[in-house]
């Protein structure tokens, strides 16, 4: 297998690995309302870059699933759609967090025991 192919496969695996964490990272930022682009920036600053083309549709989808709620802020010159966790979303987020810590814990054990 040539080098380029190996790299492509590796990139794919990394993406796969990150994809699972995107939703949790997004939810973690939405205890206070944010609009699409501010969320892109704040996630990037925290070292979890998410492409806008992935994030904007994701926000809509999470809103449809009643995890997020939104409202349009029309007070400023530019209208912005702010998203934040709904009550239901807060519950789900807490549970997901617990789950993630569990997985993280176990993964660490597995990976370290191999060394």
């Amino acid at each position: 297998m040539d080098k380029k192919q190996t790299e492509e496969i590796y990139d794919g695996l990394i993406q796969e690995l990150r994809r699972g964490n995107i939703i949790l990272s997004v939810l973690s930022q939405l205890k206070t309302p944010q609009y699409g682009y501010s969320l892109v920036v704040s996630l990037e600053e925290k070292g979890i870059p998410v492409e806008p083309g992935t994030l904007y549709p994701l926000l809509r989808r999470l809103e449809k699933q009643n995890i997020l709620e939104s409202n349009w802020d029309t007070n400023t010159s530019k209208p912005r759609k702010y998203y934040r966790l709904s009550e239901n979303g807060k519950n789900i987020y807490d549970k997901l967090c617990n789950e993630w810590f569990k997985i993280n814990n176990n993964m660490e054990k597995i990976l370290k025991s191999q060394e």
Partner: protein, 334 residues
């Protein structure tokens, strides 16, 4: 802003109504925000371009908004589609060849060059038609399936009882059966349709009266040609039923009912055509009597016989298929 508007349109054009308006509003706001936050010294146009490139292919973005890809013919049916397409186009080519060969024997006033160019253009338009109609049938199948999978009530949730039964000789559909039907149907239909438009005078009875050859047309050709939509419809539904059989591979009650409905539909369409009095040459009986002294008041009965035959055959098929479906249903209940 021209580029931005075009980009937003490219994303939202496949959405409808409220959803479209919402995505449009939000996406535009986000893009404007992204442009504004770019504090570099680039011109507005440059900033626009950068932002749009960052968002990437609008079709992909639309897929993300939709949450699923859209297909004309999805991966689930694609193999079957290719398979059927080959059969149908092959059968159309075969059918046109036969039709024009037969036709050329009856109209000798055409040169070889004319006949060849007729043949080639018929092959071309025939294959194109075959391709278009087959694709249409599969588009319908694809769309129908999408609605099944989107069942939100969870009734279609998989469980062990949904595992298919091991093949049973009695309810199995042998692959050869629908394939043969598709080939025969397509060839016959192509021959019929080809003759109907190239040499419609062929639908006649040929008599040697003394030294003369007398031809008596059976149909009123213009009326018959006027039924082309019906005829194509009958053809399409017949092909659809056979394609479904290839897809099913096994009868169940539900499938046998769908099949029966389709058979009834083709029968009704055929009957509508046959029972149209104007379809038949009104002078047929009198001309035949004049030339052969055969009194064909019985000829009126021939039409009734055709109808009875048609209804009988289709009824027979429905009974057999339904009985297979019911057999399978009872077996699954046990």
């Amino acid at each position: 802003m021209e580029l931005v508007k075009r980009y937003v349109y490219a994303v939202t054009k496949t959405f409808n109504g409220k959803q479209r308006a919402e995505i449009e509003k939000e996406l535009t706001a986000n893009i404007e925000e992204m442009i504004e936050q770019n504090k570099s010294t680039d011109s507005i146009e440059e900033k626009e371009k950068k932002v749009l490139m960052e968002l990437g292919n609008p079709e992909k973005l639309a897929d993300n908004y939709r949450g699923m890809k859209r297909y004309i013919i999805g991966p689930k049916y694609y193999e079957l589609y290719k398979f059927v397409l080959k059969i149908v186009i092959g059968a159309v080519i075969g059918g046109i060849s036969i039709a024009l060969l037969v036709g050329s024997m009856f109209s000798s006033n055409q040169t070889i060059v004319d006949q060849t160019s007729n043949y080639l253009s018929a092959l071309f338009s025939g294959s194109l038609q075959a391709f278009a109609w087959t694709t249409l049938v599969f588009m319908i199948i694809e769309r129908k399936n999408v609605t099944i999978e989107e069942d939100p009530s969870g009734r279609n949730e998989w469980n062990l009882t949904k595992l298919p039964q091991l093949p049973n000789k009695k309810t199995e559909i042998p692959l050869s059966d629908p394939i043969a039907s598709i080939i025969v149907t397509t060839i016959l239909f192509t021959i019929f349709f080809g003759l109907l438009y190239s040499t419609p005078e062929i639908f006649a009875i040929y008599l040697n009266v003394g030294k003369d050859l007398v031809t008596i047309p059976i149909f009123n050709i213009e009326v018959l040609q006027g039924y082309r939509v019906f005829i194509i419809g009958i053809f399409l539904i017949s092909i659809l039923t056979e394609v479904l059989k290839i897809y099913y591979r096994k009868w169940t009650l539900k499938r046998s009912i769908i099949h029966s409905v389709l058979v009834v539909l083709t029968t009704i369409l055929t009957l509508i055509i046959i029972t149209d009095i104007n379809l038949w040459n009104p002078n047929f009986a009198s001309e035949l009597l004049k030339n052969t002294k055969i009194d064909l008041s019985i000829l009126n009965n021939i039409r009734n016989w055709i109808i009875a035959f048609l209804v009988g055959i289709n009824l027979f098929e429905i009974v057999i298929v339904l009985s297979k479906g019911i057999f399978q249903f009872n077996k699954e209940k046990k």
